[in-house]
């Protein structure tokens, strides 16, 4: 049976930001060469959109504390993000794309297009996000 690998990151934004997540993923990919470039690009794009949304919308003024876990199993890559911010606003249903000249509102659609599962739960004043993508065989 293939080994399950778990990578963790604690961050506080600001001063941390999505580049902190990018840097973490660089080490994830270097330790998981079996993951295809398409899976890497798709998962990283979805996770950065999720982290951006949390940093932008969950910060009530005093910053937001985040704990990120990336788990790689034999057939899946799963990102779990817990944050201390305001209650989440991510729809669990893929929203429609905004008009082409709109400058925002595409992040959630991108997430839903790139992963198979998007879950959210609010518990003990914390937001718990989970995205999961089935790996290409």
């Amino acid at each position: 049976m293939a080994e399950t690998r778990v990578h963790t990151l604690s961050m506080f934004a600001p001063p941390d930001d999505v580049d902190t997540v990018h840097n973490m993923l660089e080490s994830v990919w270097s330790s998981a060469p079996q993951i295809s470039m398409r899976d890497r690009v798709s998962f990283e794009t979805a996770l950065i959109e999720l982290a951006s949304n949390v940093i932008r919308h969950a910060d009530g003024g005093g910053g937001v504390s985040c704990a990120l876990t990336v788990e790689i199993t034999a057939d899946r890559i799963v990102g779990s993000l817990t944050d201390s911010g305001l209650a989440g606003n991510i729809s669990l249903v893929a929203p429609s794309m905004p008009g082409e000249l709109e400058e925002s509102g595409r992040g959630l659609s991108i997430i839903h297009a790139l992963v198979d599962e998007v879950d959210y739960d609010r518990c003990d004043d914390l937001n718990h996000w989970r995205i999961s993508r089935k790996l290409e065989s």
């Binding site: 990018h22 690009v41 794009t45 959109e49 951006s52 000249l101 709109e102 400058e103 595409r106 991108i110």
Partner: protein, 111 residues
Amino acid sequence: MDITVKDLGAGVAVLQLDGRLNMVTASCLRDHVGSAVASGQNRIAVDLAGIDFIDSSGLGALINGLKTARQAGGDLRIAAPNDQVKLVLQLTNMERLLTAYDSAETAFIDG
């Protein structure tokens, strides 16, 4: 992200981007496009060859730049996107509005 601006004359400016175009750097691109247009360069070619990642914030900055250039009677065109940028453009149905050219230097060669 670093931005290098090249003046090609005839109102054309090439903005050469290097790094990640995301929520951290999107405002930097908006500012550079605004400055170029304010100085009379209303045809903006954004060279994405050095961009290894874009998110929806970065896409929003490109759309903002496109609107800024068009309001000044010009246009904004993109060049040399990598596969990740192409994926985001495709998923968001932006390939028509932001048609990718092979080279920023020749993006406005047809006018």
